[in-house]
Symmetry: D3
Subunit: 254 residues, 6 copies
Amino acid sequence: MRIHVVNPNTTASMTEKIAAAARAAASPGVEILATNPAYGPESIEGYYDEVFSIPGLIEEIRGGAGADAVVIACFDDTGLDAARCATEVPVIGIGEAAFHVASLIAERFSVVTTLARSIAPIEHNLVRYGLASRCARVRACEVSVLALDDPASGARAAIRAEVEAALSDDGAEAIVLGCAGMTDLAASLAQAVGAPVLDGVACAVALAEALARLGLRTSKRTSYAAPLPKRYAGAFARFAPAFSFPRTPPLTSR
Amino acid sequence: MRIHVVNPNTTASMTEKIAAAARAAASPGVEILATNPAYGPESIEGYYDEVFSIPGLIEEIRGGAGADAVVIACFDDTGLDAARCATEVPVIGIGEAAFHVASLIAERFSVVTTLARSIAPIEHNLVRYGLASRCARVRACEVSVLALDDPASGARAAIRAEVEAALSDDGAEAIVLGCAGMTDLAASLAQAVGAPVLDGVACAVALAEALARLGLRTSKRTSYAAPLPKRYAGAFARFAPAFSFPRTPPLTSR
Amino acid sequence: MRIHVVNPNTTASMTEKIAAAARAAASPGVEILATNPAYGPESIEGYYDEVFSIPGLIEEIRGGAGADAVVIACFDDTGLDAARCATEVPVIGIGEAAFHVASLIAERFSVVTTLARSIAPIEHNLVRYGLASRCARVRACEVSVLALDDPASGARAAIRAEVEAALSDDGAEAIVLGCAGMTDLAASLAQAVGAPVLDGVACAVALAEALARLGLRTSKRTSYAAPLPKRYAGAFARFAPAFSFPRTPPLTSR
Amino acid sequence: MRIHVVNPNTTASMTEKIAAAARAAASPGVEILATNPAYGPESIEGYYDEVFSIPGLIEEIRGGAGADAVVIACFDDTGLDAARCATEVPVIGIGEAAFHVASLIAERFSVVTTLARSIAPIEHNLVRYGLASRCARVRACEVSVLALDDPASGARAAIRAEVEAALSDDGAEAIVLGCAGMTDLAASLAQAVGAPVLDGVACAVALAEALARLGLRTSKRTSYAAPLPKRYAGAFARFAPAFSFPRTPPLTSR
Amino acid sequence: MRIHVVNPNTTASMTEKIAAAARAAASPGVEILATNPAYGPESIEGYYDEVFSIPGLIEEIRGGAGADAVVIACFDDTGLDAARCATEVPVIGIGEAAFHVASLIAERFSVVTTLARSIAPIEHNLVRYGLASRCARVRACEVSVLALDDPASGARAAIRAEVEAALSDDGAEAIVLGCAGMTDLAASLAQAVGAPVLDGVACAVALAEALARLGLRTSKRTSYAAPLPKRYAGAFARFAPAFSFPRTPPLTSR
Amino acid sequence: MRIHVVNPNTTASMTEKIAAAARAAASPGVEILATNPAYGPESIEGYYDEVFSIPGLIEEIRGGAGADAVVIACFDDTGLDAARCATEVPVIGIGEAAFHVASLIAERFSVVTTLARSIAPIEHNLVRYGLASRCARVRACEVSVLALDDPASGARAAIRAEVEAALSDDGAEAIVLGCAGMTDLAASLAQAVGAPVLDGVACAVALAEALARLGLRTSKRTSYAAPLPKRYAGAFARFAPAFSFPRTPPLTSR
């Protein structure tokens, strides 16, 4: 089984960290292919960055022929709907994965994400998925995505403070870390606070494996049906829906 | 890895069918232990039957020492909350499992269950889990649980009729079969109607495996904390909370 | 008119306190029959205790022949659905009773219960009944059920502190006491804080009387229909649905 | 005990029918005072009529000194909020009463009212009270309020047709009749269709009695506090809030 | 184009302030007719005052022949439904106007109103309109309506304190001022806090203009259909629905 | 005043039709600038097309310097959130505009859109905006976007059939046409069916004018704050957030 994990931003070091987390979560024998687009934002913080990461994300998915499932490794589940239209194999966002898994081990969870500007997008996703009633609160630690790896940012302390506030003030019984860049912190935080702390990358890989093993695929009846054939003008012509979705040359060389 | 699948009713032939479905869904190397209580209702149809299946269910779980995860194989997710208090390993109900998995491959699903009296309990679960907005409708085919295996009952035709109505009238993009006893019908129905048809047993085994592999356990912070030590009077004295939950002799011999 | 008040736990002194509250609330000429099961938990604190109190509760209801209505005197409304299936007369839980009555005299109420582990079950009931939007918050005073009667527990002061916080911080306009064991505190707390403080036992007796006088009975159309006849294996065989629900010898002698 | 039942429209024959239903529902020894305003609409059908019935309704309530509780006998619960501000005794609307009582004997009910223009106001009340999730559907039989008593209107047949449709199509397990003018039909319809059919007048009298006997009164903390003293200009000067709410001469003599 | 702005209370100085705000918001060439009833409460604070302002409000609307749209200048949107039945031109409440406009420029807003007793009515409106999910919190500054113009009341400071609390504590991204009497404060508060602060009067005038220019009128299909012809008894006889709604002599001379 | 109307697909004839509708709706003296991207899908039907229309949409908005407000003329409100981050002037989607305006003239509306695959995206928007409770149903006429202008497609008849079904079956009191390509049909359909039929383009232009005249701008506090400065790799480098958002050369020449 092969799972294609796409980090929709263009920061290769982050893709590597995600790949390590994905491999740690996968069953023996499951191959993890981790890639990121060649063009688009270096990190995704808010609505604007999101939309410029999606064409590259779709291009990666189309290029990942042979995968049994796809994971989108951005906590906003950037481009998830379009991705489900673009491929027949299951596509899992790390945000939804963490929400669903947390709902199986706790009555209520809180999310700790990076910046306040990501709170509303995450809350909208929770409503959309149906799981808003399971989430006590979405909190921001106000450390930017790329600063998570900078020891000088105080990221771990800031995140831990929010985790502890969630447990004591929100009535949360589990914590979801709200950024792919926090994937390496889950285990030690869980240890430190004595409650489940979930990383979306691990959750998504496990769910992707589960779906692939069960032979389940995205329903193509209506909302996620293959896009209708039509002309795409200009630079995006090569994304024009064609049923076989052949690999086309990328927008920029890498 | 060992997964304990408990069928909360006392019909051994149904337990066997469930065991077969669980084994088919499990990864290589995962052991499935399938049991049912020695006392309680032969099938669970509505609120009354439910409550008499739970003590036996808890007894089975307590007896299943060594399991890495527990699956409750009744679509009402009978006794799920109590079971989560009674063990430290993850516990997954087949109803919730199917709802969560369906939400990952379709915008909206419908449920086809046995009798109309089970519609309200299932709807309450959907609200409780948060996933009611993902469910277009819960339908009943009006075939009783134990009649599902009787060829004379016309069960398959009745279920298929509801499945097709759900796809054409409800806007459902996937179907969830709402009874453990329908587990053997999912694949052929999916084939017949050209849309995903989900069996909760398979979904629950896959999710149980996923949680166990991720090392996740039920949060014990509040709602699912171990029951407080106290006296249980009379025949239930042996269920009185004791922290180690040792195996006690069953209520009736088997 | 006779109202059967069942305390689903096995602590006789608590049953007596409940009986006194029920008699104080009943109209002249209404007979209160107050009983508790002979087996099961001495107090109900959380999901695990709940399930072991229900068989005994059902047995009490079946034994209470001649009652015009039944009240379940546990604030979690333990076993309410099953009880409605098991008898034709109206069944009222003290939790739901208090929520409905509070909704008639206040825009919004808060609940003050015993332990934090009971918050989620109460919140789920509020959602289920439809009245979650009327409840500002469910608070716990962290005094256990059986400690409520222990003067050394500081129960009254702890409860009063939560009541006052609910009035000042939650925007609550009335308070619901969230445990049958608090029944004797309602009047003095209402006096002390100058706002309605409701006791579920009194509310349930009043509603049970109202329904019985109106000649209303639980609808038997679908969800609360009599359980279908079937075999119950082992020790629970005597609970197997039989339409007349005759009094059977109890599981343990008293 | 004295219960003041106010029919907010000015049709005395309807007031008499309501009084008879109220007396039939009341306990022995409970006095029913049934009145209607001297001015305002002869029937209440939609938003416009409602607002012109409320000043007269308030005048009746202020004139009903000595009542232990007030019932507003219009299914729209016309003026309920203002009435709660205008008196210290409990005030119950027949719409809310029927919704609450139906919720105690059925998972889900449907409402059968008069005209389609009343559907939205009733639906808004259901949302406001929290009980919308308990109501399967609000149906209109398209017979006007005053035609209900005209044998030539075919009212009973039209209502029965909607009741039966609600039971077969909506999944309703009980029916609420959505107009005070239908109060005399509940018993025979219940008999005819074999399911609970509730009349709001009876439900409201029973709840009013219950609240009065429990000594409960409307919370005066915030929303229903006595109106602040201030000048009312012109013809409404005599309604200007004065804490004692003395009986003032009515707007028109009767 | 002519817009009729009705202040439903009887305080002429407040009507003048509202008129000034309306004129400032209107396009060149749009005539603002600002009136208030001759009878009823001098200010509207809570449910009781509301109902006595509505007959006069309807009378003003019926007297405002030739208007292309009507604005109801009370933040509770007093009498909005009845007004929509009473005229064919669009009717906009200043509360709903502010909520809709705020939803177009911010994810989430908070409301700052006068007294706590107005919080529940505003919250009910938000639910009714559908926009409750867009409102973070309704706050009261505890300054009465008529004190807003009294420099000694400290109104501006009290309001600003709540505005700042809303921005820092509620996650609000815009503020709605919850009283027509605050109309003159919006611009300076917006300047002071660096976030949008909306005045309902301006929003409603702009929306009324928009609807009138688009030629849109209230749907008369069902809920807002012209009231059915019928007798109104006593002093309200002249409000009895008559299809042409001719100008009748007012209840009191002005 | 200048309003920039962006049709996010690349079909110039559709842009012209939209421009005509926008000009008809605008006040005298309001300039309408109507453009479409030079690259991307020729029509937007479902999630996949959406994401490839947004970069071009953002480019158009950045190129429309001097506009006082922006209208996004796709009923899915494609790219609305990102657009609000990309400019300081108000941005209105034609879907949200129609929903808000319909809510001001009707209790409940239905939407008639093109293809079934657009139902879910529209429903998600309704939930997100808060107005789902105001929408009775989203219907599809199964005519594709570009076929709307083909007389042979039977588009008008198909749309009218759905409009009539919505009025008779859904309880809708107004209709919203769910595609920018239907803008020319609203007036004649309203005439034909005798109920308000709303076109989002007209509604959005009117709301954009209203916001601009009131001097309101998108809140920049959190969710819609200017994107953080960062590197965008490859072909999208020129979209990298820069505070002044200078006009950059387009991706393809036109």
